[in-house]
């Protein structure tokens, strides 16, 4: 019988350390600064929404909250595969990183305490 610690842990997503968001609602974009290595990105509404959801939630939670927000807004991002594409894109830009869900929550709490 496998021990509990050997069971696969749910995957979660966090923002990379130091990433700063600067919404520009006048233009429906959000600028995202990644300090290591330094780069400034312009995010569309879909990526902006997704990045704000990457706060230690599990991928399943992010997907659920993303779908709810997109459905409510009725705008772009609801087409098939949009969620996965945007999530993969943010990872490629090194704006988010994977972490086991429990660790991710710990880091989120640590971040909030600062």
């Amino acid at each position: 019988m496998a021990s509990i610690s050997a069971l696969p842990r749910p995957l979660a997503w966090n923002r990379e350390r130091g990433v700063r968001l600067r919404p520009v609602p006048e233009q429906a974009v959000c600028l995202a600064y990644r300090p290591q290595p330094p780069m400034l990105f312009g995010l569309n509404l879909t990526s902006w929404l997704l990045l704000t959801l990457c706060d230690g939630r599990s991928e399943a939670e992010i997907g659920r909250d993303y779908d709810a927000a997109v459905r409510e807004a009725g705008g772009p991002g609801s087409e098939p595969g949009a969620f996965e594409t945007a999530l993969h894109g943010l990872e490629e830009l090194r704006l988010i990183r994977r972490a086991p869900a429990a660790d991710a929550m710990d880091e989120t709490e640590e971040g909030r305490a600062k």
Partner: protein, 334 residues
């Protein structure tokens, strides 16, 4: 029409008007020593921290020569925690050790001026023998330390025949973009205008003839890319004055950014608001950036016509017979 932005996400900082070079095309009348009243590093760090807290997320440093500003590395290190940093330089004494220091301080991109495709042209323009070698060495050192680099060239009578050589050189040294900039009638450039400036047709021909080497992007601001950037303009000169854009340096003064929060100046100064609202008498539909404002550069429009709403003479569709090889009339009052 209202301004596009309520607060500026990006800002340009003219760190100093000191420079070891004596460029004929200098816009700031730079001298070797700092001018009285320039802010020191400590004040810049405080001011830039405030700007970050006000929402600025990108800072573009220029001069003068920012590399000779005492405390530059401390300023960069403080800014790069929360803001993308860019640095325009002639590459003065920028060797591998300094490139490593800049990388460690978090510099996001460097922009290095070339004033020619060879030492003879470049050094004649800067007035300093050996400055071409320094600029080239700087681009190579920055690239070796993985700092993305733009090479910049101001289009003049002297650089136009060498644009292809400059593009090839920039790519060979490791730059990923070449920015071709127009000559502005400011500072010493205005005094040497007839020796430096080309008619618009010759400027357009020089740009059209460039064949970018593989891997090198070309940026230019002539038709069909002549944009009115004022909608997002934010800049502070070496003395802490809010001037919107460094190319407006001789024409406007929106207030003291060391005493008044920049966002308040941005929101309340009537002249600044009017520029960002962007009303123009004529515009080129090909050149109107969808997220910006039409009509082309307001600095050159004002320089030649004396009206902020005037056509930009650097756009072939708006030039209306103005000979850009002749200096514009003097403007006595901001």
């Amino acid at each position: 029409m209202n301004p596009v932005l309520h607060t500026p996400p990006k800002i340009t900082i003219g760190l100093t008007e000191a420079c070891p070079l004596r460029c004929r095309h200098c816009y700031a009348d730079c001298a070797r020593a700092p001018k009285p009243g320039e802010l020191d590093a400590e004040r810049w760090i405080d001011l830039l921290r405030d700007l970050s807290e006000q929402g600025v997320i990108q800072v573009y440093f220029e001069g003068g020569e920012p590399l000779i500003k005492p405390g530059l590395v401390d300023i960069l290190r403080a800014c790069s925690q929360t803001m993308m940093t860019k640095l325009r330089t002639h590459g003065w004494q920028l060797d591998d050790a300094l490139a490593a220091t800049l990388a460690d301080a978090g510099l996001g991109r460097a922009l290095v001026d070339l004033a020619g495709g060879n030492a003879a042209t470049h050094d004649a323009a800067t007035g300093v023998t050996g400055s071409f070698r320094q600029s080239c060495d700087a681009i190579a050192a920055l690239a070796r330390h993985h700092i993305p680099v733009d090479a910049l060239v101001i289009l003049t009578r002297q650089t136009a025949p060498e644009l292809q050589a400059i593009a090839d050189l920039a790519a060979a040294l490791g730059a990923d973009r070449l920015g071709i900039l127009r000559l502005y009638p400011l500072g010493r450039a205005r005094q040497a205008w007839s020796d430096l400036a080309l008619p618009l047709a010759e400027q357009m021909a020089a740009i059209a003839a460039i064949r970018p080497p593989a891997g090198l992007g070309i940026m230019q601001s002539w038709h069909p890319k002549d944009r009115n950037c004022c909608w997002q303009a934010a800049a502070i000169n070496a003395f802490g004055r809010a001037i919107g854009c460094m190319y407006l340096r001789e024409y406007v003064d929106f207030g003291d950014a060391t005493q008044t929060p920049y966002n308040e100046i941005f929101r309340t100064n009537a002249q600044y608001r009017a520029l960002r609202e962007g009303p123009v008498e004529a515009s080129c539909s090909d050149c109107s950036a969808p997220q910006g404002r039409p009509g082309g550069c307001r600095s050159t429009a004002y320089a030649w016509h004396g009206r902020w709403t005037a056509p930009d003479p650097f756009d072939v569709t708006l030039n209306h017979g103005i000979d850009l090889s002749l200096a514009p009339p003097a403007r006595l009052e901001p």
